[in-house]
């Protein structure tokens, strides 16, 4: 029970369960999940379609409320936060990368990244510095003034990653970030994330169907019917950039 208070722990769930009553019978989309994720981890959630990956990520990210159980981010039980506190909490602690259309279409790459920092009320100088640093890290210095429609799918996802990092979150949640990308672009995006993970110790949690993503992860958690079926740690060598 005290394990989440441990210094390096960023996410801790206990007894986490989400039941949907929508259809003819209730669906246990997430079923009694106990999860513990430490700073700097590079974790993937895998499992067949409908196994509850998205639902679990939404619960961890405070986008959805569990039917049962709790989520701690660092030492905050997020169920104790009011709705508006939760929005602020996400702004300052969690980075999100969604499957597609992450970006605001009328803002340029640079503005999209800057946007979250603006919400955080960071100074102009700080914003500028970080935007350029991030654009360099994702290798898109030459596209700063492009709008999303002028970027490829992979480039858009990389900008989305940069935006997720702009707020200096505790961790980044990414729900199938490569799902709409071809394999070469997907590899590029992964390289970027692995690099960020290794060099800046950014904590990433993905969901994916993509074998290549799984290959690159240090930890692979498999969900079946909403429950954790396996949780494997891999050898360091596997994630070295090839």
């Amino acid at each position: 029970m005290d394990s989440h208070n441990h210094e390096n722990c960023v996410i801790h769930t206990e007894d986490l369960t989400k039941i949907y009553d929508g259809g003819a019978f209730p669906v246990r989309a997430v079923n009694d999940v106990h999860l513990h994720i430490e700073k700097g981890e590079f974790t993937t959630l895998v499992g067949p379609s409908g196994s509850g990956k998205t639902t679990l990520l939404n619960l961890i990210g405070g986008l959805d409320q569990p039917t049962q159980g709790k989520v701690w981010v660092k030492d905050v039980d997020i169920s104790t936060l009011s709705k508006s506190q939760l929005i602020d909490f996400r702004l300052h602690n969690i980075g999100f990368v969604f499957q597609a259309y992450n970006l605001i279409p009328v803002l340029t790459a640079r503005e999209n990244i800057e946007f979250v920092m603006l919400l955080q009320k960071r100074s102009k100088a700080e914003r500028k510095k970080r935007v350029f640093q991030l654009l360099r890290e994702i290798g898109m210095e030459d596209k700063i003034n492009h709008r999303p429609a002028q970027l490829s799918g992979g480039q858009q996802q990389r900008v989305a990653v940069a935006r997720a990092l702009a707020s200096k979150p505790q961790f980044v949640l990414a729900d199938e970030p490569t799902a709409n990308l071809d394999s070469k672009t997907a590899k590029n995006l992964l390289d970027t994330m692995v690099k960020l993970n290794e060099e800046e110790h950014i904590t990433f949690i993905f969901s994916t169907h993509d074998q290549r993503v799984m290959d690159r992860a240090r930890r692979v958690i498999t969900l079946v019917d909403g429950a954790i079926a396996s949780d494997e740690l891999k050898e360091e060598q596997h994630i070295i950039i090839g």
């Binding site: 939404n58 929005i87 702004l91 605001i104 603006l118």
Partner: protein, 404 residues
Amino acid sequence: MFLRLAWRNIWRNKRRTIITMASVVFAVLLAILLNSIKEGVLYKLQENVVTFYTGAVQIHQNGYWEDQRLDNSFAQSDSLFELAKAHPDVNAVVPRLETFVLAASEKHTRGCMVVGIDPQTEPLVTSLDQKIVQGSYLENNDQGILLSEGLAEYLKLGVNDTVVLLGQGYHGVSATGKYAIRGLIKFASPELNKRMAYLPMHSAQNLFGAENRFTALVLDLTSVVKAEKVEEELALTLEGQYEVMNWKTLLPELNQVLEGERAENVIFLMVLYLLISFGIFGTILMMIVERQYEFGILVAIGMRKLKLSRMVIFENVMISVIGAIIGTVLSVPVVGYFYRYPIRITGKLEEAYRNFGFEPIFYFSIEPRIFYSQTIVVLSIALILSIYPLIKIMNIKPVESMRQ
């Protein structure tokens, strides 16, 4: 950046924004033109009617209007006269002494209103000298009389004939006099045309034994719309001995007609704006549906809902208000043109207008209120319609918005 973002969002769907704006532009333009012509026509109407007889403002002895007898007349007072004259909105102050008498010829008698006037200044209010159709207007020390055409006809009298007036004067003295008819006046109003007679003031005062007494001072103003203001301001100093009344009290039926006309306009404009509101609302509705996913993302990454609502409301208000401003700007030259070159009515309508003593011209008003009030209306509509996106955004659940 939020401003920039809002501004770019406005132009995201250029065609829709332009269509929405255009409908607002059109509505505002139409509303301004309509209001301008309506106000212009009504204004002219007031001015016309006021010049028939009553003037814009009158001052009487307190209680005269309730009980219009010579006993309620007041003694000539230079200070009163000067005070009224000194008001910046007053052009002219004209005295009157009026009462009902019987007018008789050899064979006929008829009740009529006899009005003692200052022949020199009376035309400033009523243009009485312009209304002579036979004979001539009164000279200053004239011993003659002017009769309205209808009255003369009834009495079977013409110019240079003599009419006898019989009545009751000040404090009940009997009043009888014989006057040579100098001229006949034609009033557009049939009501006035059959019962008016004008005497020079000194003759009237003689006739009624009311030396140096008036029943009313009639004020001609720089503009008839100032009537209420002038009335209030004069009443402040004159209260007690005198009563001050504007034409709305003097001519309550006319005022009612004008208010009715205005109300009619309001109903038409309400329908117009209702249609425009549907247009704006449609745009808001589509925008909300289209941007559902994006709103979900924004809330997910940490944009507060109130902030998001504020931005979206700002966008909608801008579309409407920019439309309103363009409409107003476009209306300025149009209204300005018609203000300078009013529309002349021709044909049957012209005749009808002339018969009632009105100029057959549609005037336009350039009162500022006509222009800015439309922007206020549009702004209010946009704000009221903003309740919808506000509610929608406050209820956003990112997970659900993003599932679509």
